[in-house]
């Protein structure tokens, strides 16, 4: 028989106001095995913890029940307390009489009765508890960063700075991400390329960083500290080690009609290309969808002009497998498609553009060399209409996104301001629902657009754009002015909502990391653990976790790196001892458990068992790898023979709790 101590916490008045704590400790004192029972104002305080430790020693307790708040809050605290007093930490059970009792009941009598029942259940469980010892697993001291935008670059640089090797996997031919396409950055208006490209070069030159561009994660196995990742290195038909990035091939390639994705299709590139001048790695890539040589076997111009002999039409995709201790998701975002918002005539007029396209039209390295010209006829626009919240803040139907995309108010203010600064002869209108500019120097920036640059901010929305005779007839509401406006505009710029990159969902499945309904990665705790995924060893950086501007992204990228460094600096990780365990004598080898295990922790072996009359029987039985098992319990439910059990949460323990509650 266990010798159990019961400690009932008041939690100030949080519990004591709706639960008669004295009655609870008195009632539980009468339970079998309970040799001590008391209550105290704050059991988690130093005095409360001292009391528990003293009682363990004085009474020789073998088990402890704390009736207090949720185990998520203080289970670890009380386990540590008891461990220091010489008790195995897994001999401690928490009865949650706060979140599941006092906070939800108004009537003290009911609350007290329920608290006693919850305490009784915990006592019943402790009777069946056995001491558990946590194992250890080693840590591979290398990190993988998936996505090479500003988030991934910053995370990689910070991890590398701490001395750990880190790989960046980027699906595009170059790292840099969306920030490479942006012209100027708010609120300081410094040039995006000027602050980003040095970081790209740093990443390339850092000996701890290995950039795997034009590559994708194919599969992920393992667990925190011990991931095995297969990476597909897509064939770029150019030998990266030989290419010098001279760019001659990209000038000579006869296939000139390939939409240039870097400029969002606003101009064309060749079939062999380097996305932009500061690309890292600065290596050419052949686009197999357009290359005449790859499609028909006739051409070979690039190969002829390449003095380095880097062109390799026979190159194949290559799969490489690497070990990592930590993985960072930094897959970023994209503007949503404007397909379902054609009241703005995006499909009907090239002069209706998205904000990202507008960035390219303002950028010195863009299709117009930085002179703002209308895509339709190359003329200078005089009247520009900016529309905010296109596809943001929708009510979650098929069209649009329910969230605020967060960055649009600021970049629209920036676009409006830059337009007015560069072209004082322009009339610039911004239609807004709300102007949201929280952030250091953000609201001041927006006010400058209005007050110094004379941008017309109009509270209202655009309802229809009609292209006609070279103009865009804009019909809009002016809610504060109490009128419907009709503006003959030359260009309309749509602040399209942003959404997570499409690669995020399959990646989350590979990582067993959770996502919200919008496909943003979920953080382990929205306030207190914002850069960790609930899946151990997986961290989040940048807009894949939620809409973010550059300052927020860089801050979060650094935070994710700090968490990775904390993990990689450990030699061993303590495992959770509450893992599944198969009773080989009962296992019938049916594979039901293996099929439901989300972590791949279960394997089967053939094992000899002693049979009657000195015979041996060879049977197939399940084995659990305790380092991989996360203790989710799915296998214990799936097992038809009752062989699979979870340590610390055995079927017998759960049933004992249920019996105690129903008694």
């Amino acid at each position: 028989m266990q010798k159990i101590g019961v400690f009932v916490c008041w939690c100030g008045s949080n519990i004591a106001a709706t639960v008669d704590v004295q009655a609870v400790s008195d009632a539980l004192a009468k339970e079998p095995g309970v040799v001590f029972s008391t209550n105290y104002q704050y059991m988690c305080s130093q005095a409360g913890q001292d009391m528990i430790q003293d009682t363990i020693k004085e009474y020789g307790l073998t088990g402890v029940v704390v009736c207090s708040c949720s185990p998520r809050m203080h289970e670890a605290t009380f386990r540590k307390t008891c461990e220091k007093a010489g008790l195995n930490p897994y001999m401690v059970e928490i009865a949650n009489i706060r979140e599941q009792c006092s906070w939800i009941h108004k009537d003290k009598e009911t609350g007290t009765e329920k608290a006693i029942i919850l305490g009784r259940a915990a006592i019943a469980k402790v009777h069946l508890n056995a001491p558990l010892t946590a194992g250890q697993s080693p840590v591979t001291k290398r990190a993988l960063v998936i996505g090479g935008g500003i988030a991934g670059i910053q995370t990689a640089l910070d991890i590398a700075e701490a001395g750990f090797p880190v790989d960046i996997v980027e699906t595009k031919p170059t790292i840099g991400g969306k920030m490479t396409q942006i012209d100027k950055t708010f609120p300081t208006l410094d040039c995006a390329a000027c602050i980003l490209t040095p970081k790209m070069v740093d990443a390339a030159q850092n000996e701890n960083i290995n950039i795997l561009s034009y590559s994708e994660v194919e599969s992920v196995k393992g667990f925190v500290g011990n991931f095995t990742v297969t990476i597909r290195r897509k064939a770029r038909y150019v030998d990266e080690t030989k290419c010098t990035g001279c760019g001659l091939c990209t000038e000579k390639c006869p296939q000139k009609k390939v939409p240039n994705e870097f400029n969002l299709g606003l101009d064309n590139r060749r079939a062999i290309y380097i996305p932009f001048a500061q690309a890292v790695p600065k290596v050419a890539t052949i686009d197999p969808n357009y290359c005449t040589m790859l499609k028909t076997g006739k051409c070979g111009v690039c190969s002829k002009v390449c003095t380095a002999g880097a062109i390799d039409y026979k190159q194949q995709d290559e799969l490489i497998e690497r070990e990592y201790g930590a993985i960072v998701a930094a897959t970023g975002f994209n503007p949503i498609s404007m397909d379902k918002f054609d009241e703005f005539a995006y499909s009907q007029s090239p002069d209706v553009v998205t904000s990202l396209e507008f960035e390219r039209l303002m950028n010195a390295a863009g299709p117009t060399g930085g002179t703002l010209l209308r895509p339709s006829d190359g003329t200078h626009p005089h009247t520009l209409v900016f529309v905010q919240c296109v596809g943001s803040r929708c009510d979650g139907g098929e069209k649009g996104k329910p969230y605020c995309s967060k960055i649009c108010c600021m970049y629209t203010a920036k676009h409006a301001m830059l337009t007015r600064e560069k072209y004082p002869d322009t009339d610039v209108y911004v239609f807004y629902i709300d102007v949201r500019t929280p952030g250091k120097n953000f609201d001041e920036f927006y006010r400058r657009a209005v007050e110094e640059y004379g941008v017309h901010y109009i509270k209202g929305m655009v309802g229809k754009v009609v292209p006609e005779n070279g103009k865009l007839k804009v019909q809009a509401s002016d809610l504060l002015g109490g009128q419907q406006l009709h503006i003959d505009a030359d260009m309309v710029v749509l602040a399209a909502a942003i959404e997570p990159d499409k690669s995020a969902r399959p990646l989350a499945t590979m990582l067993t990391a959770s996502m919200d309904t919008n496909d943003f990665f979920t953080e382990a705790h929205p306030k207190l653990r914002p850069v960790e995924s609930p899946t151990a060893g997986v961290f989040l950086s940048g807009a894949c976790q939620g809409p973010k501007d550059i300052p927020d992204t860089v801050a979060q990228a650094g935070a994710a790196a700090a968490k990775v460094i904390g993990l990689l600096s450990k030699d061993q990780l303590t495992c959770n001892p509450c893992v599944a365990n198969s009773n080989e004598l009962m296992c019938n080898g049916c594979s039901a458990c293996e099929k439901v295990c989300p972590y791949g922790a279960i394997t089967y072996i053939d094992k000899d068992f002693r049979g009657p009359n000195r015979t041996t029987l060879r049977r197939r039985v399940a084995q659990v790898n305790p380092a991989v098992c996360q203790g989710c319990g799915a296998c214990t439910v799936a097992c038809p023979s009752g062989a699979m059990d979870l340590k610390g949460f055995s079927n017998a323990q759960i049933m004992a709790e249920v019996d105690a509650i129903c008694k």
Binding site: C389, C394, D395, I433, G463, Q484
Partner: protein, 126 residues
């Protein structure tokens, strides 16, 4: 009048609280300049119990029922349904029909389709 407001909300099926005051409905409305109150105001005024003013307005007969406001509303508020409900609240009262049969002959012309008269009767009287 507060009972009437509840009726208007119920028969329209519109929940004005879903409105985020973006003005998309009034931006999309082709009949804006013909109406004394505009689609976004119907939502706001019903929410704030100003039904009487809406019922007195001539704009309720100018709504084209073209559903542009309803289609483009990012919050699925569906102002068109509210405008029709306000119109019904008026014409369902005794002697408040907006169109009288004796007016019809004067409005006809040789090409006018039956549809125009039927729909006017549907929309403007009970």
């Amino acid at each position: 009048m507060s009972d009437m407001t509840e009726i208007v909300k119920r028969i329209s099926g519109v929940n004005p609280r879903k409105c985020m005051k973006c003005g998309k409905c009034s931006a999309a409305c082709p009949a804006y300049d013909e109406m004394d109150y505009h689609p976004h105001q119907f939502v706001d005024m019903v929410e704030n119990g100003r039904l009487e003013e809406l019922m007195d307005s001539k704009g309720i007969y100018m709504c084209l029922s073209c559903f542009a406001c309803l289609e483009r509303c990012p919050r699925s508020v569906e102002p068109a349904k509210l405008i029709e409900a306000v119109r019904l609240a008026v014409v369902r009262q005794q002697d408040k029909n907006h169109l009288k049969p004796e007016q019809i002959p004067g409005l006809l012309d040789a090409e006018l389709p039956q549809q125009a008269i039927t729909s006017a009767f549907r929309k403007y009287r009970k």
